[in-house]
Amino acid sequence: MLAMNYRGPYRVRAQHKAEPAIEHPNDAIVRVTRSCICGSDLHLYHGMVPDTRIGSTFGHEFIGVVEEIGPSVQNLKVGDHVLVPFNIFCGTCYFCQRELYSNCHNTNSEATAVGGIYGYSHTAGGYDGGQAEYVRVPMADVGPTVIPPDLDPDDAVLLTDALPTGYQAAEMGDIEEGDTVVIFGAGPIGIFAAKSAWLFGAGRVIVVDHLEYRLNFVKTYAQCEVVNFKEVRDMAIHIKKMTDGLGADVCIDCVGCEAVGNAMQSLTGRYMKLQSGAATVLHWCINCVRKGGVVSIVGVYGPTFNAIPIGNAVNKGLTLRMNQASVKRHLPRLIEHIQAGRIDPKQIITHRVPLEEVADAYHLFSSKLDDCIKTVLIPPRTASATAAVPV
C-alpha cells in the first residue's frame, strides 16, 4: 500500500509498504478515505519529538471504511464508515475510567505521560498513522465512531482531533459569561478554540498570531478580534491595554513548542534544543492573563523542560489546565453543534492533496505557503471520487 514515509527532519515521501495486519483480537483494519496533516505533525516533521523513527507513517487525523475486524470486535462491522479519534485507548484502565482517554495506561509502552496516538512517534506508542491507504486501529470496540449519514466526511475528519482539541481548550478555560478570552495561534486549533469560546459564552474573543492571512480568516470565521504580534511591542502591555488594565480572564495556548515571537526562546528551544521547544506562548499566557485567571494549554511541548515564569503564575494565583483532548468524550456534543449549524468545520480546509504528493503537502503546510490553513490528504483509491489537486 502507499503510505507517507518519514525520512528525517523536513524529509518525507510517499512509498509503498506492507499492509497492516490484525495483531490483537480487538483490532480493525481501516481503509483510509481522508487524512489530515495536523499542526502537531509538524513537530515530528521538524524532528522535535524524541523517538521518531525513520520509516514511520504519521497521521492521527483520519477517517475510513472498516475492511477487516478482529475476532473480539463487536461494536463495528466491515463496511462501516468511521471517524477514528487520535487517542488509542482501552476504556478500562484507571484513567479511561475517568474519561482521560488521552492518558490511557494500557496503550503506550514507551512512555507513561501520554497514551497511544496514531502516527506520533514511539514516544506515543509506536503506531503507524493514517496518512496511508490502510491503518491498523487497535481497541476497535472503544475508539472509532460510526459517522452519522448526514455528516460530511470533511467535517468528520476534523472531529478526530482539531475540533475537539479546540473545544477542549475552551472548556478547560472554564469560561464564564462575558469573559475575555485571548487565544494564541490562528491555526486550526486556535480557530476552533475561538469558535468554541463563543459557545461557552465569552464576552470577547481575541486571537493573536503573526500571519495576516490566518488572522483575516479567523476574524471572519470566528467573528473575533485579532492582534498581529509583529505589530505589538510588548504582548502583556498590549493585552492589558485592551482589557482595562486587568488582563484577560482566560488565555489559551494553541501554538506549542515551535512558537515564534521571542528570539531567546526560539534560539534555546527550537534551534539549540536546550529546552523542549520555545515557550514563548506560555510566557505570554501567564503574563497576559489577569490575577486569578485561567491558562489553558493544548499546544504540544516536548517531554523535558521549558523556561516559563512560574513565579508569576504563583503570585497571580492562576489556574493552569492542560491535556491532550479526550476526543471521544466530546463527539456527541460536537456532532450536535455541526448538525445544528453552529460550527462548520470543513470551511478551514484550504488544500486537498493526493497522498502521492505528501512531501509537497508537508512543505506547503510547514512553510505556510499558498495561504495554507488545513491540508487533507486523499489516498489513491479515494482520489477518483474527490477533488485532490497536486500542490
Binding site: E23, H24, N75, G126, M139, E171, Q223, A340, D360
Partner: protein
C-alpha cells in the same frame, strides 16, 4: 467601584452576541453531554467489561522503566535496529524523569536518519532530497524564496570548495 470592574459589568449584554452563531449554547455546561470533564464510569456505548488481553509480542518493544512491563496494546511499527536501536536500548535504561533518556533518543533519531540514507543506497535507491523536502511546492508557491535558498546554498558550497581547493594546493 473600580473603573475596570464597572467597565467589565457594563459590557455584559447578551444582545451584543446575537450575530454570533451558537453564542452561549454551552453556557450551562451541565446540559452538555461531556459535563463534567472527568466522570466515572466513562460515557462509552457498550463499554468493555474487562481489561484488554495481551497483544502477542513479535518484535522488540521497549517499555518505560516507570512501568513493570509492556502494555497490553502497543505499536509494532519500525522496531529498533542498528546503532540507533542500541542507543534507544540504552535510553530505555533511564526513566522518563531523567533528561538523559530523552537526549539519547534524540541522538538515536539523528543516527537513524543517516542509517535511513545508508539503507536507501544499499537498496539502490538514491533519495530525491529535492522532492522529499517539498522542493516542487517551494518552487511553485515561493519562487523568490526558492531562488534565495539556491543562491545562499551556492555561495556556501562555492566558499567551501574554494577553501578546500586552497588547502589541497597547500598540501601538494
Amino acid at each position: 467601584m473600580d473603573q475596570a470592574v464597572q467597565s467589565k459589568q457594563a459590557g455584559h449584554d447578551r444582545s451584543r452576541y446575537a450575530h454570533i452563531d451558537g453564542w452561549g449554547a454551552d453556557l450551562d455546561r451541565r446540559n452538555c453531554p461531556a459535563y463534567p470533564m472527568e466522570r466515572t464510569p466513562p460515557r462509552l456505548e457498550n463499554p468493555p467489561t474487562h481489561a484488554p488481553e495481551q497483544q502477542p509480542v513479535k518484535v522488540k518493544v521497549f517499555h518505560s522503566t516507570e512501568r513493570s512491563d509492556i502494555t497490553p496494546i502497543f505499536g509494532s511499527t519500525v522496531p529498533p535496529s542498528g546503532i540507533s536501536g542500541r542507543l534507544r536500548a540504552w535510553a530505555f535504561r533511564y526513566s522518563e524523569n531523567n533528561v538523559f533518556h530523552w537526549l539519547l533518543l534524540l541522538l538515536a533519531d539523528r543516527v537513524n536518519m543517516m542509517e535511513g540514507i545508508g539503507g536507501d543506497l544499499r537498496r539502490g535507491h538514491m533519495p530525491n532530497l529535492f522532492r522529499e523536502m517539498g522542493g516542487r511546492a517551494e518552487l511553485k508557491h515561493n519562487p523568490v524564496g526558492f531562488a534565495r535558498k539556491v543562491a545562499i546554498a551556492s555561495v556556501v558550497v562555492g566558499v567551501g570548495c574554494y577553501f578546500f581547493s586552497r588547502r589541497s594546493r597547500r598540501i601538494d
